[in-house]
Each structure stands twice: as structure tokens, then as C-alpha cells.
Subunit: 216 residues, 2 copies
């Protein structure tokens, strides 16, 4: 009985995700679902991307949090339109919440749309929402054993951003081994090593985004 | 319909949690549910606690992960019995999983039992499992804004361990403000500031555990 209900929910979710993707494609919007643990630097990466691209790319952001509008407030300060979704306790964004947010956005005037998901390495990976690209951040202080513990997330994303690289010298994170492990789980994954604090690696990330925008 | 099913699940969970707590009380076992984001240092804190207490306290550990037995292997190396629960994709431990693990443990021979929950600041806070104490770790690199984003966890735990304090000098974490915020959300919460790496603050944590053991 419980299984049937869950299957129904997932199947309904996927149908809405497909509709979301059609809507984004029709409007030539590249949407990126940004996932990570709490505090890995999703908002910082999005803010830095806005600073570097806002003169040539029309960007908008949907912020999903259990509670608060802190992140949306930071985005709006950069002069970029942001919508806050409060999930009301739910640990992920589902296709229906994303659809409701898309309805409020002027999609014809947007090139690049970020959905900053709830900080969680588990549940967001289970829900397709209709974004063309799904990426995750893993910050150096979290440690290099995380792919073994959260395999679904690491094996299904299009890109892994290793964030807070400035912490590497004071940590025991084994970067070479970490990259080999995630490449083993996900052969087509792109890996970026970034410190928003000192700017290292951000240019590669921006270049990748620009390539994706051209292909969209 | 969906709401009814969820209510049934939560009510069934709470009944099993009550049974688990009775069983622990009857056997004079103090059980502590340890929660945090991925990579905040749950395993390191448990390992350090084992090193400092294992000569005088009989400790056991239940490790919950989506996948892998890495953490249980580390605990067993310290000569302490550990059971691994693989939640098979589920983002938290529920009372039923905890009950199944308790059945496998020689409770009469245990004083202190840690349940290391799945790394997640959302869902584990929603499921009572029957432990007498529930604690969370928040590591300095995660940032001081987390109580606003994950209010249920911060407002319901008995103690918050601020971990990886050795990162404080290279971070912009506002410790005073963070402590005021969580005290505002949760007046009876105990706060510990700990670095397992350099040992700072570990003695206070051990002292608190010993007091809880006496009261158990």
C-alpha cells in the first residue's frame, strides 16, 4: 500500500518535471539545479556567477529553503530577480514547487536560471524537477568520503564543484583519490575545483556555463 | 489521502520510539542520537569519545548510512562493537530501523549507545527514534546562518556541538551571534565548542556525558 502511494507520487512528479523542461526549452532558458550539503557554498557560487556574467547574460534565481528568505535577499542585492520557495519542512524541491515558481518568472526575458535547492545530499537527488542540468557542490571541509555515503547524488549529477578549495592546505582531503572515485561512479561528470574566496577556478566554471548557454 | 497516510506513518513511528525508550531505560542504557550535515565530524567526535571513555564506560555504536560500512569499520578498529544500518536510500533513521538494531545488541552489557544518524539537517529531526538524548553537530565551515534555514533541528536538540573550531580563525563565522540565535530558539540547549583535531573543548563534552550517564 505504502509502496503504491510512493510510486504514484514519483510518477506524478516526473510528469510535471517533463512539462517544466518543455517550458524552459521553449523559452530558451538554461536552468541549473544546484544541490549540496548545508553550508557548502551554493549561494556564494551563484552570487559570484552573477557578478561575472550579469552584464551579458540575463540571470534569475529560485531559492528553496525550509524557512527564511536570507539567500533570496542576498541575490536581490545584486540586482537580479529572485524568488524564494519555502518548502515548509520538506527536505527537497519537487517538480510541483519548481513549476509554481516558474509560473511567476518572466521566462522570455531569462537566459540562465538557477534553482538553489535545500541543503541536503540525499532527497534532492531523488526528485527530477525538469532543469536541463543538475550540479552539486562538495566543500573541502566535508571530507573526501562522501561519494561512498551519498552515491545517488554523485552518480547522477552533470557536474561536481569542489568548493572552498582555500581550505585544502589545512585539511586532509585527498583530491586525486576523490576525483578518481567520482569519475568511477559517473564517467561523464565534469569536475571543477573552486574557491570563491580567492577566485581560483571560477573562470573554468564560467566558461562551462557559457558553453552550456550556447548549446541551449 | 496523502496526509492521512503520512499521519499514520508518524504515529506508528512514535509508538515504536516509545517502546525503544522503555527498552533502553530498563537496561540502563543512555542512547544518544547524533545528527548533523554530511561531514560535520560525527564519526570523529564518537571516536574521540570512545578513546577517552572506553576504559570506564561500556560503549556501543549504531552507524546509519545510505550506503557503505566505512564508519562502522572505523569504530570497530577502536575495539568497540558497532552495527551498521544501511537505510537503502532513506534520508534518516526511523524508530523501526533503530528497534531492529537494538535487538542485535547485548543491551545489558552497554552503558552508552551512540546512534550516528544519516548526514542530513532536515529529516532526522522529524523522526523520534527513542533515544533519551538528541544532539547535533554544526561545523564552523558550514556557516553561522544555518539555524535560520534548519530551525526544527536547532530548536529540538538537547545539545549543539560546534565542531571543527580549529577552522574559526580562517572563517567569518560569528560565534557570539550564533550562540545567541540558537539560545533564542532553544532555551535549554547545551552548547559545546570543540575541535577534535587539537582537543579543545572535548573535556567539557566528556564531562556532560558523564553527568548524563549518572542521571540515567
Amino acid at each position: 500500500m505504502k509502496v503504491t502511494v510512493l510510486q504514484d507520487i514519483m510518477s506524478a512528479n516526473d510528469k510535471i518535471a517533463d512539462k517544466n523542461k518543455d517550458l524552459l526549452d521553449k523559452n530558451n532558458v538554461l536552468a541549473i539545479n544546484v544541490m549540496s550539503s548545508p553550508g557548502a557554498g551554493k549561494t556564494s557560487l551563484i552570487l559570484e556567477t552573477i557578478k561575472r556574467l550579469k552584464e551579458k547574460v540575463r540571470i534569475s534565481v529560485i531559492e528553496a529553503d525550509i524557512a527564511s528568505t536570507m539567500d533570496a535577499d542576498k541575490i536581490i542585492k545584486e540586482g537580479v530577480a529572485a524568488i524564494q520557495i519555502n518548502t515548509g519542512g520538506q527536505c527537497h524541491t519537487d517538480a510541483n514547487m519548481f513549476s509554481a515558481a516558474l509560473e511567476k518568472l518572466p521566462l522570455a526575458d531569462i537566459d540562465l536560471l538557477f534553482l538553489e535547492n535545500v541543503g541536503n545530499l540525499v532527497c534532492p537527488a531523488e526528485f527530477r524537477i525538469g532543469t536541463q542540468k543538475n550540479i552539486m557542490l562538495l566543500s573541502i571541509p566535508e571530507g573526501d568520503d562522501k561519494p561512498f555515503k551519498y552515491p545517488l547524488m554523485f552518480s547522477t549529477v552533470d557536474a561536481v564543484v569542489i568548493s572552498k578549495m582555500d581550505y585544502l592546505p589545512v585539511s586532509d582531503f585527498n583530491l586525486g583519490q576523490f576525483e578518481r572515485v567520482i569519475k568511477g561512479m559517473n564517467q561523464s561528470v565534469r569536475i571543477f575545483c573552486i574557491s570563491v574566496k580567492n577566485g581560483d577556478g571560477v573562470a573554468d566554471w564560467i566558461k562551462w556555463l557559457e558553453t552550456q548557454l550556447k548549446e541551449c
